[in-house]
């Protein structure tokens, strides 16, 4: 029987350092390993002993693409531990800056990094040469996301205006209002991208995923909601560790997240969309219908469409929030530290990001736990790869390698976050 090995030594168009190894014996896939060799970053360990007020700024350094996810998760957890509740105005401003992060992160991945897979192009440079208007539109959208983060957070990467309890300074209402015309344009631009990309020739694929996300009956979840799934899970954030666990595997420097029963699950746009379709609003739902999408999308290659649908939603939502903006007074709520345990969970662009901290009476961090979305998606990525390799085993090694890389990019994996990504090797026996 022929052994076939497919190996990608360094995956392109993903964040961080990783590799893929596949070994086949005949038509049987014997082993699939999604190897993350980005070095461990030990954030949780060096938070211990630090002032809890520092946690948003320190954890934001985990990722330059999704710092808001870390800032907000840390804020929520410390605020819970100290019994602090923020005002509706602060909550709205947090939702606004998080929309900025979704817009810039989703646009970068969908148009500049993921779209080349469906256009038969190598990279964003080739897209710029072949379809310059598309790239100009994407750059304008991404800049819009960055602008929100600058106006609300002080700067686009690792914002500095955010803190436990709210914001150091309430943004100027004029600066917030000035974004509204561009946000209205952004919603239309994202809708146009969804409809254009819906014409891509998507590979046939799909499975009965366990979709896990925040769930909220009233608003599409970003910063709020219970943890829910399409299989009936419905728990408070404080019970995350009762239902999910991270384990170490020898081939990855990132912990892998699984359900307590050992099964894989999927977090991110496909899960949010499936679990919260009703709250997307009529205009975004209309875009989804026109793109041919149902209420649930199970073809992971179509995640690019759902990502852009979320960009439309984020632009609409940011415009709504900007129109309703009332500067929070005060900009933040102070509270004395106390010994306690707090949990935070928000919807990072790639899925739920969980934080848990214990503080002492002086407000020092005694224990920290951060579970990023890519860690949780790793086992599901390996299951997807096994399925895709089995279905496409007739392909040449080069084509199979390409399809595997696409399969991983469906998740927009953030390896820096997960280690706090890809080389592919396939062995065929």
């Amino acid at each position: 029987m022929t052994e076939r090995i497919i190996q990608v030594d360094a995956l392109a168009r993903v964040e961080g350092e990783g590799a893929l190894y596949v070994r086949m014996k005949g038509d049987t896939v014997e082993k699939v390993e999604f190897r993350i060799f980005e070095p461990p970053r030990f954030f949780e360990a060096f938070l211990e002993g630090r002032d809890a007020l520092e946690t948003p700024d320190i954890t934001s350094r985990i990722c330059g693409i999704c710092p808001i996810a870390y800032i907000m998760g840390a804020c929520q957890a410390i605020e819970m531990a100290w019994g602090l509740e923020v005002t509706p105005e602060i909550a709205a401003l947090r939702r606004l800056i998080y929309c900025g992060e979704w817009i810039q992160s989703h646009t970068l991945h969908a148009v500049m990094l993921h779209a080349p897979d469906f256009l038969g192009l190598h990279d964003a440079i080739q897209i710029a040469q072949a379809q310059p208007d598309l790239v100009r539109q994407a750059l304008r959208l991404k800049k819009l996301g960055n602008t929100i983060m600058e106006v609300v957070g002080g700067r686009a990467v690792h914002p500095v205006n955010t803190r436990i309890g709210g914001f150091y300074k309430a943004p100027d209402p004029e600066a917030i209002r000035a974004m509204i015309p561009e946000l209205d344009w952004g919603a239309e631009a994202a809708r146009a991208l969804v409809l254009a990309f819906a014409k891509f020739d998507f590979p046939q694929d799909g499975t009965d995923y366990t979709f896990v996300s925040l769930v909220d009956r009233d608003r599409y979840p970003i910063l709020q909601g219970r943890i829910g799934s399409n299989r009936g899970l419905d728990i408070d954030v404080t019970r995350f560790n009762d239902h999910f666990a991270e384990t170490h595997v020898s081939h990855s420097n990132a912990l892998q997240g699984r359900m307590r029963d050992g099964s894989a699950y999927l977090v991110g746009p496909l899960a949010r969309y499936a679990n919260n379709y009703d709250t997307l609003g009529p205009t975004v739902q209309a875009t989804a219908r026109e793109a041919g999408l149902g209420r649930v999308v199970t073809n992971p290659f179509q995640s690019i469409l759902v990502r852009l649908i979320e960009v439309q939603y984020a632009c609409e939502e940011a415009a709504r929030l900007a129109r309703a903006y009332v500067p929070p007074v005060p900009g933040h709520i102070d509270t004395p530290p106390r010994a306690g345990v707090g949990h935070g969970i928000t919807e990072a662009p790639r899925g739920i990001c969980y934080h848990r901290y214990e503080t002492d009476a002086d407000g020092r961090i005694m224990a920290a736990q951060i579970v990023p979305p890519t860690s949780q998606n790793q086992p599901q990525i390996e299951e997807d790869l096994t399925r895709v390799v089995t279905a496409n085993r007739h392909l040449s090694d080069a084509d199979l390698k390409c399809r595997c890389e696409q399969t991983i990019r469906n998740y927009d994996p953030c390896i820096s976050c997960a280690t706090h990504f890809l080389k592919l090797r396939v062995d065929r026996d």
Partner: protein
Amino acid sequence: MTDQSSYPPLIVGIGNPFRHDDGVGPWVAQRLAQAGLETTEHAGDGTGLLDLFLTRPNLILVDATRSRQPPGTYVCLDAGKGPVQADLFHYSTHRFGLAEAVETARALGLLPRRLIIHGIEGQNFGQGHGLSKVVETAAEALVDRLGAPTPAPPKGGPA
């Protein structure tokens, strides 16, 4: 017509000071700022660099390279004269870094009138502060070169 390259350059130090030699760009920028030159620091996100290209006609970028040359090796590229090799530079968020930004800008007709890139080969890209000695020596030489007073344009020259 004004020669855009006669505008004072903005010097952009690209990199992460928390990853040893990856921070050579910010290291150079900080010293040139102390010498009174206009500088800024940038993490290296390619789309952010594209935004920067739109704002200034005359840019000097300083970044660490990782090209298997001896540590401290200095390279100077004029983006106006030819493509920038993607595998020259270390940093690349989602593989869209400096080289991709320059070539995307070229395809879109967004390159600044003058875009000079100075690269210094790094030795240690691990976690932590401080440059390797050989990299620091090369960086000091670059600071001297970029910080040297620019000769005044001849009278009657471009404004």
